[in-house]
Amino acid sequence: MTAAIETTNLARRFGRQVAVDGIDLDVPERCVYGFLGQNGAGKTTTIRLLLGLLKPTAGSVRIFGIDVGRRRIEAARLIGALVETPCHYDHLTGRENLAITCRLLGAPKTEVDRVLETVDLLHAADRRVGGYSLGMRQRLGVARALIGRPKLLLLDEPTNGLDPAGIVDMRGLIGSLPERDGVTVFVSSHILAEIDQTATHVGLMHGGRLVLQAPVDSLRLAQAKTVRLKVDRPDDTLALLRSMDIAASRQGTDEVVIDPSCAAVAASEIAVINFLLVERGIRVSGLEVREPSLEEIFIRTIGSGFAPAAAPPPLALAA
């Protein structure tokens, strides 16, 4: 099957600064690809390269097998994009803004209402965009990217400015597109928790390099699970685990966490640990085996530095 996006040794410099350093993206069709990285990691530059807005210093980009450098127009017909902050004509209404894109794409006028409905913006369609909240502008930007039913959707930080309900809606929309419309969604973000809940594949940018790329499922399988024990005698529990060559640490007054960096603890071993604890008179009131979140996986890969998962998004003004 042809990849939706395939880059080979893609690089871009701005003077001496290397923004993107020889990355090999491989985005399968009909997936949600979470493109992660801290601010300044090279995500937006990569998206601009994928769209042909920037010319690569080296390497190439293929969209569904079409070389963007040589056949940009042909490739662009397959793409809908939201790059950085959505930019609209403030003196025009939402509907008029979309009609301009519709006309440029040669798409039928009915597309305007369809995409407005998809992003739940029909009620404000005839208001001037100058009066829209940040969240509404963001949704209008996504609506614009959906015009013409593109096969590939490139969304750069699409939840910026959305209120919590809007974020949930956006996640739902992004997650539903591959199955509903056969769309491949390439979504960039610096908030890991956001991608954690929607992406089937992830790529992690760091310092202009793609340091990790894999399906989320296989990534999680390859990582050790965290085992958390709630006991009445944590010190005795730690001693027992050490005697079994299992690294662990105490957390709080009654919790012991088995170090995920130590060899993966098999399910049978967990049962044995539980049996031994009970046999020694240690009361176990909780035992949790948890898969690592993307945040934990990535922090293990590149160290800390991502936006906190719990950071509340800025609230959008009332529509």
């Binding site: 601009r48 003196h91 025009l92 440029l104 794409l105």
Partner: protein, 243 residues
């Protein structure tokens, strides 16, 4: 290409561009009427039309082209719409060509509006200041032809101003070029080289020497087409239109 031109016009809806296009010829007509009312000596319709056309070409046309090209470019510079536009499956040069055609169309429309407004201004001046009668009759064909030649001569000015307006995200450089050009034109009016100075070429349509007038108009027309082509080549090659 038609779709791109259509979208350029759609962007101008409710913008200041249309107000500018209405105001510029109206102001020339109003000023012509006021000057007629203030005039001591009797004059003719042809002289009245020529005086008004001179006012248009000498000052109002260059300044209006400056403002118009800035407004048309800022429609996309302002909201940074280029990221979106240039990612669409539309050849880049078409956006710039469409803008050039729209500006040229609007300048032509203003010229036509001026032809229509001038007799109204003359009649208004006569009515408001009895005794300031214009003799003869208004020459529709002559005035139309004069303003058409001025329009043709302004194409080089339009190309230069639009190029500057598209090339820079800030409106200041094209504004400085426009004001500077108009200012220099005042000083260069009588010079021989004035026939080649873009901001003065339209005024040369009024030159008493028909050879000079024809040459100036040709420089403006063909120079404008050449400069427009160069603009398309330059802008289409850029990753981002504005710096």
């Amino acid at each position: 290409m038609i779709r791109v031109i259509h979208s350029e016009f759609a962007k101008l809806k409710r913008s200041l561009v249309l107000l500018l296009c209405a105001a510029a010829p109206t102001m020339v007509a109003l000023l012509s009427a006021v000057m007629l009312m203030d005039r001591d000596k009797p004059t003719t319709w042809p002289m009245f039309a020529m005086g008004s056309a001179a006012m248009w070409s000498y000052f109002m046309l260059p300044m209006t082209v400056t403002a118009l090209t800035i407004l048309v470019a800022q429609v996309d510079h302002g909201p940074k719409a280029w990221n979106h536009l240039l990612a669409l499956p539309v050849p880049r040069w078409r956006y710039y060509a469409a803008k050039a055609l729209v500006v040229a169309f609007l300048v032509a429309a203003m010229s036509v509006a001026l032809v229509v407004l001038l007799p109204l201004a003359g009649y208004a001046g006569e009515a408001l200041a009895p005794g300031r009668q214009l003799t003869g009759s208004f020459g529709w064909a002559e005035t139309g032809w004069l303003l058409a030649r001025m329009f043709a001569g302004s194409l080089l000015l339009i190309a230069i101003q639009l190029w500057a307006a598209l090339r820079f995200r800030s409106f200041v450089p094209p504004l400085v070029i426009g004001i500077g050009g108009t200012f220099v034109a005042v000083a260069a009016t009588a010079s021989k080289q004035g026939a080649f100075f873009p901001w003065l070429i339209p005024t040369n349509a009024l030159a008493s020497d028909p050879v000079r007038a024809a040459m100036a108009i040709q420089v403006g027309l063909y120079g404008g087409l050449a400069a427009g082509l160069l603009m398309l080549i330059d802008m289409a090659r850029k990753e981002s239109p504005a710096s």
